[in-house]
Amino acid sequence: MKITEKEVRYVAGLANLTLSDAETAKLQSDLDGILQHMDRLNEVDTTGVEPMTQVLFEGGETATLRADVPVAPLGNQAALANAPQPGAGYFKVPKVIER
């Protein structure tokens, strides 16, 4: 087995996902099958192969920096327009720090 139910719960914690027991069981079985398939990569000899960290690594140099000029920002009202709970010009969230 590639992944246990306990590991699924641990990863769900890292991913900030609440999962039901049924979801956890299904994910364990799905991920197990998928990870077994992924183990095929171990068959490939990648000695001395550079990881592809940039898509067009052979595409030649591109000037990717734009001129550093100020542009109008989105603005407070527009930024908050989709907030589930805006308040006093901010995004409101449940209390983080206890006094």
């Binding site: 979801e23 991920l31 734009r66």
Partner: protein, 479 residues
């Protein structure tokens, strides 16, 4: 006016000869699309005010004696992962069911500057994750060619509207085949340009090193025209390329004599007989046009699925972290602490496929597994890109199938995620290499289901890709 038969050229001629105005066309197209939509569920919502305003601007240009623009008056549909200012953009997700973006994607701005009239937003798999459009929170799309079958995914709605005739062209997004596969299932043209050819600004991020915006259309020429409009450097996407965008449609000469084409031997092993027969027939037709066809080898192909689903899910787990109940409309009603609010919002908001991919991506990036999975996959990605680079030393273009099989029945594959992932084998390799690739119709099975042929060329050589696909389309249309 017969809306399903319109092309970009026909719209232009009709507007310039005052056969109808852009406003008349937009109103008629909206009426038609709204009436037809119940058959497919391809549009999620329409934006009539925006469409009519865009059409009026085109009419004003014509009245002033100006050119209406390359897409003047053309009805366009946009996949609902591409943001539209003031028009709901849901990404097919319950999490964003009420999200109204405060800005436009660059591709959307360019479509409207060229006179295009955006009618509405199209259905898709949630956050573009899926190969059947069955992962939409707003119900699946039915394939207009065969209503009991899927349209493909994730740009299922964008392929369906073009096939159905409820838009002339559409925008989709492609991360591992999400434009090409639905195009092949619905019998239309779908283009994934070179990575960086089209700005991703305003495309909701799924896997940033693999995401593309591209056009779907009923002809190669229309797809080429749209790509010329949306392509080119955008200062708001640092990965968008400086390379100049050619006038693709001027290169559709029909002459492909002497073009060297490669047929990857590894791909042909996976084919069901009917799709394989149609591709073979297509290759014979290309030979008859004077192309030289030879077999080539892309040896890393068998590792592409594993490589892709590691990289794509790793990037997705990171990109989707932003949907936490703070900024984007949906927040769980339960959760007294900040952490519980995050977890419950995401647990209630994301559908099963998104959760699966977030979990997989989080796992492969987690401590102890990074080198074994993510770093290894990035190295294999280099090998896949090298395979293509080697092949393009010998050939001008590669022809291949798009999908191992035609459109399958709704519900047929939902219970087996790995089987669904494995069906992406032919489209994923080109995505990983970042090269341009497209699907062009290649005939129908005995049951009448469309099959697409894929054409792939080297980075930034969309011109050769379009020229070959256009010549092939001419042969197909004569049959």
């Amino acid at each position: 006016m017969d809306i399903p038969s319109l092309t970009i050229d026909r719209v232009r001629q009709a507007l310039l000869s005052r056969q109808f105005s852009a406003s008349e066309l937009a109103a008629a197209a909206l009426r038609f699309a709204e009436a037809e939509n119940a058959k497919t569920n391809a549009y999620l919502h329409f934006c009539p005010e925006r469409a009519m305003a865009a059409a009026r601007r085109v009419d004003e240009r014509i009245a002033r004696g100006e050119d209406p623009g390359a897409l003047g008056g053309v009805p366009v549909a946009v996949k609902d992962v591409i943001v539209t200012k003031g028009v709901k953009t849901t990404c097919g997700s319950r999490l964003l069911a009420d999200y109204i973006p405060p800005y436009d994607a660059t591709a959307v701005i360019r479509i409207e500057e060229a006179g295009g009239v955006i009618l509405g937003k199209t259905n898709c798999d949630e956050f573009a994750m899926g190969s059947s459009n069955e992962n939409s929170a707003f119900g699946p799309v039915r394939n207009p060619v065969a209503p009991d079958r899927v349209p493909g995914g994730s740009s299922g709605g964008s392929a369906a509207v073009v096939a159905q005739g409820t838009a002339v062209v559409s925008l989709g997004s492609d991360t591992g085949g999400s434009i090409r596969q639905p195009a092949s299932f619905c019998g239309v043209v779908g283009v994934t340009p070179t990575y960086g050819r089209v700005s991703r600004y305003g495309l909701t991020a799924f896997a940033s090193s693999l995401d593309h915006i591209g056009p779907l259309a009923r002809s190669v020429k229309d797809a080429a025209t749209v790509l010329a409009v949306i392509g080119g450097r955008d200062p708001r996407d640092s990965t968008s390329a400086e390379a100049p965008v050619p006038d693709y449609s001027a290169h559709l000469t029909g002459d492909v004599k002497g073009l060297k084409l490669g047929l990857p031997v590894e791909y042909l092993r996976h084919l069901t007989s009917e799709t394989g027969d149609l591709i073979s027939r297509g290759v014979d037709q290309l030979k008859a046009l004077g192309c030289e066809v030879r077999e080539i080898s892309l040896p890393a192909t068998e590792y592409a699925i594993a490589c892709y689903y590691i990289i794509a899910t790793a990037e997705a787990s990171s990109n989707l972290a932003r949907y936490d109940g703070v900024r984007y409309t949906f927040r769980s009603a339960t959760g007294d602490t900040l952490a519980d609010m995050y977890r419950n919002t995401r647990g209630e908001g994301f559908g099963a496929e998104c959760k699966r991919r977030i979990m997989l991506g989080t796992y492969v990036l987690s401590a102890g597994y990074y080198s074994a999975y993510y770093l290894k996959a990035q190295k294999v990605r280099t090998l896949i890109a090298r395979d293509f680079a080697n092949a393009f030393q010998e050939v001008d273009a590669i022809v291949a199938p798009v999908s191992p099989f035609p459109a399958f029945k709704l519900g047929e594959k939902v219970d087996d995620p790995l089987a669904m992932y494995l069906s992406d084998i032919f489209t994923i390799t080109g995505s990983l290499a970042g090269i341009p690739c497209m699907s062009v119709p290649c005939g129908k099975t005995a049951e009448g289901l469309p099959v697409g042929m894929q054409v792939l060329t080297k980075h930034f050589d969309e011109t050769t890709m379009f020229r070959l696909a256009d010549a092939f389309e001419n042969v197909q249309k004569k049959q």
